[in-house]
Amino acid sequence: MALVERMRGALRLSAVNAAALAMGIAPGMALADARALLPDLYVADADPAGDAHGLAQLAQRCLEWSPLVTPLPPDVITLDITGTDHLFGGEAALSAQVEDAFAALGLTLRHALATTPEAAQALARHATTPAPDERAAIARLPVTALGLDSEATLALQRAGLTDIGALLTRPMASIAARFGADAVTALRRLSGEAQAPIAALAPVAPLRFTRRFAEPIGLQSTIAASFAALLHQAAAVLMARDLGGRAFVLTLYRSDGARHRLMIETGQPTRDPALVLRLFDERIAALADPLDPGFGYDQIRLSVPHTEPLRAVQPDLDGAGQASDALAELIDRLSTRLGPDALRRLVPYDSHLPEQAQRAIPAQGNTPAPWPAPPAAEPPLRPLFLFDPPQPVEVIAEVPDGPPQRFRWRRQLHEVRLFEGPERIAAPWWLHGDAPGLTRDYYRIEDKAGRRYWIFRHGLYEEKPDPRWYIHGQFA
């Protein structure tokens, strides 16, 4: 596999994988040449912006190990682990941990530890034979590790200077005169004599808003007012960052040390204080024990643990966006009050078993799925209600596979007037090899009063001597 990019007017490979490299495909090759060498080469477009984004995401993850993380596109992340390695059990243990974390993401990495970021980068890129110390390791690096342009590197090699150690023994002035000031700068940075500026990731302040009271407050209206003020503060910060909260946590610190923690979640990112306040009202109303302020709260805190991008939008002319917002608000409100599983959407599930043909997924955070339209001019073939589990009925029917003539259900006798069937539904034999279960023969039945039922015989007479009958559903 290879990634291609348009370079100097031709499609060239910008990166190749290990398998392609083994076949003699190398980065920088024209796509036509590579195809000539390997006709079935899988090619995809390079996405430098996506790579940079992915690197930034990985760098965010690395904040776990060090507060000073610098992503260097295209493929380097440097971590300043000064003073943090002992927290993870030393340098070796930290390296192993980082390697494990990246392996879990499906990434391979080469790492090196050194006193300066440049030295670590050079060591990671150009692995050398083991050396007793860092200085010796750097001295064994090839001159390409300086990262100079190809002309300067070629000049260094022509001059017989193949490794950094050879360069370090020469006077800097003559190197500057022959190979340019860049070579000297790179060399000084590599040997730790000069420092390059660091553009580390700026840590993002957590979204946590606290209000402390001079003395404990027990009055509900005062607490509500300060909470509303916190929500407005949070909304301003979220708006500045183009974010909306998906979860909000309110912590109430009572003066005797007790804490109450309330959390709400929303289906769509939001920063509307009125909406969040209403959801908290629902949450508080749904509590099993009401909130007891005791001698009052001395601190309240609002935090937003889960955020998603939310840009300011202009309302549509036809108001379609407003309608979907109103619906999302209703879903959030009912899900907060009744529990996240109470309100559901029905989505199709591909199963021939009637009781598994639909899935009820929580409405919050899920989008509707379309149901196929039924064929025209047919009566409904699936019932509106299914009993879970099916209810046993006493049936008088012809043996072996005649339709029911009459049946008794809920202590009422029903005479069958019209019927259609059987619709034979086999048990899923591919799931349970030896004991797949019994075949069901379904009948659509209308009794003399016009009530329509879905009745099945559980098992064929070949499968079972005396199969039972069940009522599985009711048609409208």
Binding site: F385, L418, A449, A476
Partner: protein
């Protein structure tokens, strides 16, 4: 005290059910922005009452509106689990709908009021089982006010319950009726005996036998007993079926 509802000039158009005498009795059809009560004539008629309510709700939702369907756990035990395949087979749109199952009647009514306040919905269906103590005149009036303000109709489906005074616009009683069978004695389209028990400022007490036409998403008058069976357009015409059993007439 005013008894008659105060019709607002910009109230949304009613949904014509397709049965002319029924629509005439209702001054044009099922009104939106109000409460309609649907009682199952017997506990065994719950599926028929649900089918009628679903038909009306489908009419309210056409062409593509959202529906909120609220049920109590008791209704789930009594009637069964609501099935989207069967719902779609009735011509409804279960995809954009929301189905909520709540513990008790009070939570059911509170959720219904919240749903009625959301004008993004096209209809709210509330399904209860047994007598509802929580549904007194005040609660009923609250539902009506919420429905009037947003224009969202509420269908209050009651099974195993006897009618109580309420502020609803109409009250219906629905029983299952024998369908016009298809060839080979197969049950036909859903058919109901509906009785308009009560209507604010309108005639009441009439009964109709209606059949749900899934393809048109409308009701039609059921053929009288012994009448010929309608021949589907896309199937070869079979022998004209003979009436198999004498059927009872609409009350």
């Amino acid at each position: 005290m005013r008894i008659a509802p105060s019709p607002t000039p910009d109230s949304p158009a009613p949904w014509a059910s397709g049965v002319a005498p029924l629509d005439a009795a209702l001054h044009g059809g099922m009104a939106r922005g109000c409460v309609h009560e649907v009682y199952a004539a017997d506990a065994a008629d719950v599926a028929a009452a649900t089918g009628f309510a679903l038909g009306v709700a489908t009419g309210f939702c056409a062409p593509a509106g959202g529906l909120l369907w609220l049920r109590t756990r008791r209704a789930v035990r009594g009637a069964g689990v609501l099935q989207a395949p069967g719902w779609a087979e009735m011509g409804g749109m279960p995809g954009p709908a929301l189905v909520g199952v709540v513990g008790d009647d009070l939570a059911l009514l509170r959720a219904a009021v919240d749903g009625l306040r959301c004008a993004a919905l096209s209809a709210v269906v509330v399904e209860s089982w047994g007598a509802m103590k929580a549904l007194d005149l005040t609660a009923s009036r609250r539902l009506v006010l919420a429905a009037e303000r947003s224009g969202v109709p509420l269908l209050l489906l009651r099974s195993d319950a006897s009618p109580v005074p309420s502020a609803a616009r109409t009250r219906w009683q629905v029983a299952a009726a024998t369908s016009a069978g298809l060839e080979a004695r197969a049950p036909g389209a859903p058919t109901f005996d509906v009785t308009l028990l009560r209507q604010r400022s309108g005639p009441c007490g009439q009964s109709w036998r209606v059949e749900w036409d899934r393809d048109q998403r409308m009701f039609r008058e059921a053929p009288l007993s012994g009448a010929v069976v309608s021949v589907p357009a896309d199937r070869p015409a079979a022998q004209p079926p003979v009436p198999l059993f004498p059927q009872r007439h609409a009350a």
